[in-house]
Symmetry: C2
Subunit: 333 residues, 2 copies
Amino acid sequence: MGEDDLIQRTFAPLAAGFPGALGLRDDCAVLTPPAGHDLVLTTDAVAEGVHFFAGDGAHDIAWKALAVNVSDLIAKGAQPIAYLLSLSLPDEPERGWLDAFAAGLADAQSAFSISLAGGDTDRRPGPLSVTIAAFGSVPHGRMVRRDGARAGDRLFVSGTIGDSALGLRMRLDPGLAIALGLDAARVAPLLAHYLRPQPPLALAPHILEFASAAMDISDGLIKDCGRLARVSGVAAQIEGARVPLSVSARAVISADPDLFRTVVTGGDDYQVLAAVAADRADAFRAAAQAVGVAVTDIGGVGHGTGLSVTALDGQPMVFKAGGWDHFPARRGD
Amino acid sequence: MGEDDLIQRTFAPLAAGFPGALGLRDDCAVLTPPAGHDLVLTTDAVAEGVHFFAGDGAHDIAWKALAVNVSDLIAKGAQPIAYLLSLSLPDEPERGWLDAFAAGLADAQSAFSISLAGGDTDRRPGPLSVTIAAFGSVPHGRMVRRDGARAGDRLFVSGTIGDSALGLRMRLDPGLAIALGLDAARVAPLLAHYLRPQPPLALAPHILEFASAAMDISDGLIKDCGRLARVSGVAAQIEGARVPLSVSARAVISADPDLFRTVVTGGDDYQVLAAVAADRADAFRAAAQAVGVAVTDIGGVGHGTGLSVTALDGQPMVFKAGGWDHFPARRGD
């Protein structure tokens, strides 16, 4: 199977819903933006050994690659439209692997209302990697930025936090679940969150309507909240006891309270962090609830700088490194 | 230096010309398309060991990564606007390397009239790779496609063909230049073409005006011309003796005529292949000349299917594999 055949057989069906993809028979795709709208652009890559493990299912890898991009669009209040896929494979892929990969993309496309527009496929040594550039639309001038938080805003997160990071811990240390006394039914949702994040598409229009600032949580709640506060020029406070936890995460924390630190620093959540004016907080919560998305007030924003976080017991938490950093500062930096 | 510092110090200056990049302080960029225009989207990756060599200069790597994307936009008649950069580094980069990489991007941005809009940087094992998604604009409904060639069209290429492929041959076989009796002054332009392709930006508006079909030449003239003919539903003929060659390439072919095969199959040209109605060919040539771009009529398009190519002596050439394929068919496929 040559490259052109691979594209036509495996990927062209994923582009069938987007006329501008031209059936993947061209070098480029064409996108006619909705009238009166801006395009929102983002790119994120996932790679074996960093964002997933060697041997993880192709279906899950594909899902994650698309989901981590869509979460950026949602956090900006954007409606997903299309994406470009750049796939780098170390070996000639097996047909079964490709079919599963395409099925994972198809499922994610359906879940997130987005279509393949084009791409690039090559073979090179090194880890399997999937780089996606995703495009969404917002009414002109309305993209929700990171830097709009104002003193008095409340801080909300969607969904639950930390499941993915705990799932990753359990994959890295298969004895951990047993040591914590967790059964398979408790562990499974955590593992699933790591591989199949669920950014809340239905929340996008309400982020657009209510949020003064927003971003997706990918590098850990603490680090990302610190970023939002810094670029907004405000101070932020997070009350750990209010951070929404799944049943599984609660079971983990009950068994080992120290793992709460993993919850708030671990990353890979792909939920939304949003600042909302205090007098609109109830309306935001109600609007989210109406579309089936849980949002939780975890703290607030005030004058000043910096981020303070309390633990589950209300005591201040101290962090050295605030979350995931691909290029961590060396000691002494 | 943490990831945020790296982005602000190294990459934010490259985004200064594009307000929608928001200083690279957000998750996403925002692009307001020009009124009445469509966006043209493309993505291409370059990786060490595939598109450049370990140890190649960061400046050249950056140039090539952007140039190979811009060539796609030009071939569609699009005006470049902005790009997203996804950089994957196996090791923590040295400051000097990053500075050179950013300088290479800055030079290419200036040459191709495009700005950085956003990106993603991570560390992972494996070869250094640079994935870019680039965006340009064309008047609504006017993107020049691959599939518009019609019987009677002439086939043009921009620039010269084969320099990059010959440069690659010489890098893979450092004794080749000596065996061919070429001095350094003859070899240097070939090596330079491989690392620093020069897609003809000034040609874009004339592609838009004159071409019935076009694409960039990245996987070899033969293979790419075959693709254009196939999706257009026409037959194509290329006269080898008309394929434009640089002085260096002529010297190579004089010394070893068999290397003409490398010229037409080698790829990495990043020039434009365009089909132009015969009665507009002179006007196209004149318009290209007026903006300093050489275009050469190398053949034509007729009814039927397939691609025929004559060698320099006018005899038919026979090809097994038509050009570069990341996933070549196995024998017997």
